[in-house]
């Protein structure tokens, strides 16, 4: 809301300069967002919160200043000196719940024309375009007193009759009612929206916009000015339904001053007579639903309990006195009735805010409450551990929007029955590509890849932890929100100072194993995956015990092909983990085990086996050999090629033997190892590598 200081000073003699006034307003809850210096004036840009429609006017701001500076408020001139004739007009309020008061005046023989300089000037300072003197005056009064008015061309109102009612009331339920508003648009009106009607037809959408057919035009001489109070929620519903937001609806839906509306009407008539020389006729004022505020009890003790202050009754009254409340003082409490323009004051807490607002927030001492020890909770700690493992492994964290489009899921070739197609749809997305909530983090990761490669970034280690949203719960209607972690690894094959022949797949797999190691999860396994968007020969599903918790693998060349990546086809490894599923396996208590007292003995052996036999099978077989002296088994070499027959591969493994209570003898280890080797040769149908 733009407020010129010079206009303000007309109503309150503020004993302060512009910057002090701006500061004062800010500190009582009317934040001055900007101060604009003009030639002879200063305009404040005041941010008025939705609870304070009373401050959407010059008089409203002046009223606040009059309270804080304890200076009287002057009302603008609105005396109607001579009224010509009676109002031969019939007004019926048919829906009294939606229209609490309706007043109007007829002004005749107006000379429509350009507005005088002073009027145009003030409107311009408030960023309102001047149209003609009649429309300008309704806007002027709106800015000055905060009350929206509407001027009809009297000659176009049929039957000298005004009715206020909804289509349901006037025409009956189901009747089709259309009105063309002054912006030239035809609106079919919802049955419960409030309209203004003449004898025959709707002539305005109450509180929102006037009708095209009764609009003031260049030939208008006589007008009917409307000043009314419409139910805020009703105006808001209608404004939303039509998608029409106006200065008028903005104020009505926040709540206008039902008592001010008569002053506003007279002020407008007065100004029209002054500016456009009209004859003011009699007034009609129908007020079926009077403003009768309930008394609010405010306990002195409660005020201090909530604020942490020790205010006296007198302090409190000093704060409240300028605000227009009707106050009754009792020994332990106040009984307060707020004025019609303060419908936001409904309960004790609202009055407490008024007291402290005027008293000054800055005068409240800052005092810490008694402290206890806080906690992050176990889940957050585990998540933080997982993040740390990725950070230490060189992965940089990204945050993507939680949105995706159906295209993303199609691109991954995800099956029709897959739960990742069971996504949550946004009714009003900003873009079609962002109309679903993510069910997997991979599409975002791939977008990060495309962006970064396009900007010449040649090595990427990225990860993200975020929620995915699956399905909808039958009872709550809410989706299942699961915490996922996804990572992407990409390295352009360029000449490097130091050679690293490790396959990209193992780099990412290694990090997953490091994470499991960090979380002390041991019962995991990697089993060839059938995710449709992964390279079938370089991908694995990740299991803990028998539960699938994620997958890792190279992105399928078919997916890479359709990406907007120029020049080369990159090798990209991705992984995704359901972190929530890891939780039950991580809560192990650490218990110390004694270090071994006796030395170990190691033996290495290389086998030649069918190349289809996977390493995990060999390790599993070796581990199935019953001996309590085998401490550890690991594979240290896999080789295919020269000296190894076609269709075979060489696998070398190392076994570490140790006995708990003594030193092992070489001969005994030799015998044990030979037996183990025989066992594995039998299982794999393999041979010793020569």
């Amino acid at each position: 809301m733009r407020i010129p200081l010079e206009w303000l000073r007309e109503f309150v003699a503020v004993p302060a300069d512009a910057s002090e006034v701006a500061h004062k307003l800010t500190m009582i809850g009317l934040e001055v967002e900007a101060v604009e210096n003009l030639d002879n004036d200063v305009v404040f840009e005041v941010n008025v919160t939705p609870n304070r429609p009373d401050c959407l006017s010059v008089i409203g701001i002046a009223r606040e200043l009059s309270a804080v500076y304890n200076t009287p408020l002057e009302f603008p001139d609105h005396d109607i000196l001579a009224e010509t004739g009676e109002l031969d007009f019939n007004v019926d309020i048919l829906d009294k719940e939606l229209c609490h008061r309706y007043a109007g005046r007829i002004v005749k023989n107006l000379r429509l024309g350009a507005s005088p300089e002073w009027l145009r000037n003030r409107l311009e300072k408030c960023n309102i375009r001047s149209i003609n003197n009649i429309v300008d005056i309704t806007n002027y009064v709106l800015l000055e007193l905060g009350h929206p008015l509407h001027a009809f061309d009297l000659g176009t109102i049929k039957g000298r009759r005004i009715r206020i009612g909804t289509p349901n009331t006037v025409k009956g339920k189901g009747a089709k009612v259309v009105i063309k508003t002054i912006d030239g648009v035809d609106h079919e009106m919802p049955g419960e929206s409030l309209l203004i009607w003449d004898e025959k037809r709707p002539i305005a959408v109450a509180g929102v916009m006037g009708g095209h057919e009764t609009e003031v035009s260049d030939s208008t001489k006589d007008i009917f000015i409307e000043s009314a109070y419409f139910d805020p929620a009703s105006v808001r519903r209608t404004s939303k339904a039509l998608g029409l937001k106006t200065e008028s609806s903005f104020r009505f839906e926040r709540g206008t001053d039902i008592k001010m509306l008569k002053k506003a009407l007279d002020r407008a008539a007065y100004l029209m007579k002054t500016v456009a020389g009209g004859d003011i006729h009699g007034k009609i004022d129908i007020y079926p639903k009077r403003y009768r505020p309930a008394a609010i009890i405010v306990r002195y003790e409660r005020v201090n309990e909530i604020l942490g202050l020790r205010l006296t009754k007198k302090d409190m009254l000093n704060c409240l006195n300028g605000l227009g409340f009707e106050i009754e003082t009792l020994p332990d409490r106040l009984k307060i009735k707020p004025p019609a323009y303060r419908r936001d004051i409904k309960m004790e807490a609202d009055v407490i805010e008024e007291i402290v607002r005027i008293y000054g927030y800055d005068r409240i001492p800052a005092q810490l409450p008694k402290a206890t020890i806080g906690t992050e909770g176990n889940e957050l700690k585990v998540r933080s551990n997982i993040k740390q493992a990725f950070l230490k492994s060189g992965f940089t964290e990204v945050i993507n929007y939680s949105f995706m489009g159906i295209h993303d899921i199609d691109m991954l070739g995800i099956d029709e029955k897959d739960e990742r197609r069971n996504s949550v749809r946004i009714k009003n997305p900003l873009r079609a590509e962002d109309s679903l909530m993510r069910t997997t983090l991979i599409p975002s990761m791939i977008k990060n890849l495309v962006h970064n490669v396009a900007h010449g970034n040649k090595e990427l280690r990225l990860f993200e932890t975020a929620k995915v949203f699956i399905g909808r719960n039958e009872n709550s209607g809410l989706p299942d929100e699961r915490e996922h972690l996804a990572a992407l690894y990409y390295k352009e094959k360029v000449k490097a100072l130091y050679k690293d022949e490790t396959h990209d797949f193992y780099i990412v797999k290694g990090i997953i194993e490091a994470v499991f190691n960090e979380l002390k999860i041991y019962d995991y396994s990697f089993i060839r995956s059938s995710e449709p968007f992964l390279h079938s020969g370089q991908s694995a599903d990740i299991f803990i015990m028998d539960e699938k918790v994620g997958y890792v693998g190279s992105v399928s060349p078919a997916v890479i092909d359709v990406l907007d990546i120029k020049a080369h086809k990159p090798a990209v490894v991705v992984m995704e983990l359901d972190i929530d599923k890891l939780m039950p396996y991580t809560m192990q208590v650490v218990k110390y085990r004694a270090l071994p007292k006796y030395p170990h003995v190691e033996r290495d052996t290389a086998l030649v086996v069918d190349s289809s036999i996977e390493a995990s099978a060999i390790v599993a077989w070796l581990k199935s050999y019953a001996s309590d002296m085998i401490e550890d088994i690991h594979i240290f070499d896999v080789y295919q090629g020269k000296n190894i027959p076609e269709g075979k591969k060489s696998i070398a493994f190392n076994v570490r033997y140790r006995a708990a209570g003594r030193t092992l003898k070489d001969e005994e280890v030799d015998a044990l190892h030979k037996s183990l080797v025989d066992y594995i040769l039998d299982k794999t149908n393999g041979q010793l590598r020569q």
């Binding site: 929620a233 808001r236 942490g308 800052a366 945050i399 939680s402 946004i426």
Partner: protein, 334 residues
């Protein structure tokens, strides 16, 4: 008899490596070495000459031993030097390393804030991002058809389900689960149907909440001032001014003195010298009524802040969209 020392010294000077030196040692001091033989031959001398000759030869022996040892140690030193030289690397080449990853700046700021509040006795709670209208609005005293809904452009899933527009619904969910006292923060993602240079459709907030017997506005100021001083420095001015949130009453907007211009006024603070950083207030009794807390027995405060704004101020970032482009040249700066 000729003096073996002279020949020895000549030979010693031409022994240029450890094996030649070892040969020399054998030649003179070995079991059949020249000096050893001399010592053996002493027994052939007349008894009166033996002591003198013996002393003589022993002196030569000791001197040769000393010379050999010293030569050996010098040669060893030289050989080590030669070996180190041939094993040397170009220390100016860069080392082989994988730089640690970086946390996203938003999460970096988020955990910094979380740590401060955990230190002040707050625990950490979470709530769903796809939320019922009831928790996001109704229970927070924002009824349908209320203009306060305009403060937040909402993404709708159905008429009753929204993407949460703030982290405040966590208040209600926690109060439904637990009796007072409660004291927690709730960090997380929130969504608004808005996108331009200063708005992204998704961003992050931290909600703070505390309810107990006798909690006052003064306590709210205490907690937030302590937090802001830890976050932005102990000298940072803090200002509370009245504002409006449907779920708090009284409500406050909390400003800090502009950290960029020191309060003199600049583009970022729009010349005011102040930066709006937090919304806060005393919990509205109507919110308590929704969850069955007795507002006569308990009072409390709530506050909320946007993380992007704090991160932008902290790192002087001028375009909020950079956070969600995820360009590693940006991300690796934090």
């Amino acid at each position: 008899m000729e003096d073996p020392k002279q020949t020895f010294l000549k030979e010693l000077s031409s022994a240029n490596n450890l094996s030649e030196l070892a040969n020399l040692r054998v030649k003179y001091l070995g079991r059949k070495g020249i000096i050893t033989e001399r010592l053996k031959s002493l027994s052939a001398l007349p008894p009166e000459e033996r002591p003198l000759q013996g002393k003589n030869i022993n002196e030569i022996k000791e001197s040769i031993e000393a010379d050999l040892d010293s030569r050996e140690s010098r040669l060893k030193h030289e050989e080590l030097k030669k070996q180190l030289l041939s094993d040397s690397v170009d220390v100016t080449l860069s080392g082989k390393f994988i730089p640690f990853g970086r946390p996203h700046p938003i999460n970096k700021v988020l955990s910094e804030i979380t740590d401060i509040f955990v230190g002040m006795g707050f625990s950490v709670e979470e709530g769903p991002e796809v939320e019922l209208d009831y928790y996001n609005f109704e229970a927070l005293n924002i009824p349908k058809d209320h203009p306060a809904r305009d403060m937040q452009d909402t993404f709708y899933i159905t008429d009753d389900i929204v993407l949460r527009t703030h982290t405040s619904p966590v208040q209600v969910r926690v109060m439904e689960k637990r009796k007072p006292p409660v004291r927690f923060i709730a960090p997380g993602k929130v969504y608004r149907c808005d996108a331009d240079i200063t708005h992204t459709p998704m961003f992050h907030q931290i909600e703070g909440f505390m309810v107990d017997k006798g909690i006052t506005f003064s306590n709210l100021k205490g907690v937030l001032e302590a937090f802001l001083h830890r976050m932005f420095g102990a000298d940072t001015p803090v200002r509370f001014r009245p504002s409006f949130f449907p779920f708090t009453e009284p409500s406050a907007e909390v400003d800090i003195g502009c950290i960029l211009c020191g309060g003199a006024g600049c583009r970022v603070c729009k010349g005011s010298g102040w930066l709006e950083i937090l919304g806060a207030g005393m919990v509205n009794p109507k919110v308590f009524e929704h969850v069955g807390y007795d507002p006569e027995e308990y009072s409390g405060f709530a506050f909320g802040m946007g993380i992007e704004r704090i991160a932008m101020l902290k790192y002087s970032i001028d375009d909020i969209r950079l956070f969600y482009e995820n360009d590693i040249r940006f991300l690796r700066q934090f």
